[in-house]
Symmetry: C2
Subunit: 134 residues, 2 copies
Amino acid sequence: MIDYTQLLKDYNLKVTPQRVAIVNELHNKGHINIDDLFHSLKSTFPSISLATIYKNINAMLEKFFVAEVKIPNAKSVYELTKELHSHLVCKKCNKIEDISLNTASLINEATKKSNFKLEDISVVFSGVCQECSK
Amino acid sequence: MIDYTQLLKDYNLKVTPQRVAIVNELHNKGHINIDDLFHSLKSTFPSISLATIYKNINAMLEKFFVAEVKIPNAKSVYELTKELHSHLVCKKCNKIEDISLNTASLINEATKKSNFKLEDISVVFSGVCQECSK
DNA sequence: CTGACTGCAAACGTTTTGCACGGTA
DNA sequence: TACCGTGCAAAACGTTTGCAGTCAG
């Protein structure tokens, strides 16, 4: 289990049991939406409130400690910030997987074809995962 | 001005002045969010309601006549469905442009590296447009 | 003429805010 | 101790629904 305590401190976020639980859940699940996160934490913290979840996720988003992933036809999910990667979403079971792809040539092409100074790229694939296509 | 009347009929949507205005606005602006669409149409239809906007956009989405584009850190925008393309978003002025890119090799790479049967791809670039970077 | 569409108002789900209490540093 | 975080309740949003009147086909 990775210790995120120091990371919370580095970002000037006080280390509370709720925050540690949120970070652990993000780490374990990889990607999770607000409602699932709330219900997961309810078992450990029966009195936790949605307001606490929102306040903390927003605080972590502001520190770029956590990132939001917007998914076509589904609720946004949150993940711990990591190196650039793309996402695969299963249309049947809604599972989300990370995938590392070489987007350099696509960024290159977009740079040549547009007049934008590009800074970020978001790539989300939708399809059917192996289990669901059996 | 392209005539979308027949297209509305083809999709079994009655041709009302509000619908024609919505389609024209989507055509003219390229991409627009619900609120901007509502305020644009207010000048022509002072008594138009948000409910009408939502009902129509949802009807058009169901017919795959209009598509939703989810944008990082911004409201979703809607566009008339066209051939596969990617989007460029300006972080300063929020302008959105279409860009046609060759995503075949990226899809190919994702297919090889994953166990998903891929069906769709969404690519959104964020950056600064030429005017805003002056 | 009939079913579909519009606009209003109310309902609903999600997210944010204010405040008193409690916990971290 | 001083501040920050939590949890509750209320408020603020964005979106959907029900309904009566109107319009397109």
